[in-house]
Symmetry: C2
Subunit: 283 residues, 2 copies
Amino acid sequence: MAQEALTLLGLGDMGTALARTWLAAGHPVTAWNRTPARAARLTGATTFPTAAEAVAANRLVVACLLDDASVRETLRDADLDGKDVVNLTTSTPDQARELAKWVEDRGARFLAGGIMAVPPMIGNSGYVFYSGSEALFAEHEATLAVPVGTKYVGADAGFAALHDVALLSAMSGAFAGISHAFALVRREDVRPSDFAELLVGWLTAMMPYVHGVAEHLESGDYTKGVVSNLAMQVAGNATLLRTAEEQGVSPELLTPYMNLMAQRLADGHGTEGTTGVIDLLLR
Amino acid sequence: MAQEALTLLGLGDMGTALARTWLAAGHPVTAWNRTPARAARLTGATTFPTAAEAVAANRLVVACLLDDASVRETLRDADLDGKDVVNLTTSTPDQARELAKWVEDRGARFLAGGIMAVPPMIGNSGYVFYSGSEALFAEHEATLAVPVGTKYVGADAGFAALHDVALLSAMSGAFAGISHAFALVRREDVRPSDFAELLVGWLTAMMPYVHGVAEHLESGDYTKGVVSNLAMQVAGNATLLRTAEEQGVSPELLTPYMNLMAQRLADGHGTEGTTGVIDLLLR
């Protein structure tokens, strides 16, 4: 069976990496880029001077552009009737929901994607969160899975971005903590690579915490399975802050979380774990 | 060969868990606790009314008390000459260094420990960072390893606490990020346990970042192996903040790290990764 043909809008680093894996797997690719030189460099792809012509060439249209505004601008003059539009451009959940409506109002099905990979991972690892039209996803999953794994997370077009951003946000917090940890040992005779081994082992061993939080949220009982409770942890935070001071490290990456823990404790939840901090974040 | 006898000062949850594993492994344990009732409940241990008497009973003396001040108070009237004192009480690096001097001035060898475990893990998992007298550690390692694994991290008595606090600080940052992530999906139709699976997978997959930071610090080249550079990440932070706003989640756990990233970018380091944030934390 011939591989499915598709149109790819946007040939930045990510779009180019995607196009290459599709082409290598035998998928006919019609490519368009705002700057035509990049499209011309992509060996094996069919190119058109306008996005509208590229969109007309195939039913499956994948956009991998700069931002939400550039997606609308790129698709403005295209006939989307009967198209299957997959948007891999970074967006917020609300932007994805609005774009879904805009695309669907023009007669197309819509699927949003949140890419959990950087360009060098394409073809090897990582995955894409997809949400929106389940029918579109089912019909094109084999093609979408060629460059990078797929995870469909629901009919709400905003869910791909929501999951994407949530995971990146968690990562940002982890990286902040890791930065503080390295700062603490920076002026001491501690080999960074030795310390990295310990840090990775410890953080990996702490991952069951995440499942514990999920259990708390599902049961509503934030004390379930808690060993080191909030009262003990808030007491322990003093040692963390005093150590930062001794080592000449700013506590700014630790204090916001500690303050929320202290607030939750003051609210009378000392026997819980830290799950209640989540409630305090909701405004 | 008979198992080594030891004295354990402090029978809180952790001390009791330690004592039980030593007793179960056949080690004669002399135990003392400020509140005598707890010591009396520990079947199989020899008890004394004063810490000085308990210390006199064995060469190896392990303290697992409330805080640094209580260690000095407990050991004040004891004859430490010729003793091997192992302090598992939570402390800061400087407190450990000062205690080492205080103990050594009284004729004993000193080893500091930082327990990377909670009481239910004792006998099963977790480990203790040790630093200070390498000779003491070498001589008693087999005994110390009975309740929980050991990791010796150097002759500096402060290093056990330093490593302990650094790992707990990193964990605190990770938990802050995880809290923000759960808050983002809290009001949506997302099952927490499904989300937890994705979160654990993602954070685990990101662990090579830690080794990358170590390489940057060791080489001094913060651009090495960087794919998503600081300029790109700072641009991406806008999507994270906008999503938090859409979802009604306070950005307070994310902004301090983002601000340092932006500062490092403004300082002209856009092609680096985020390792430079560590330098900004050092005061």
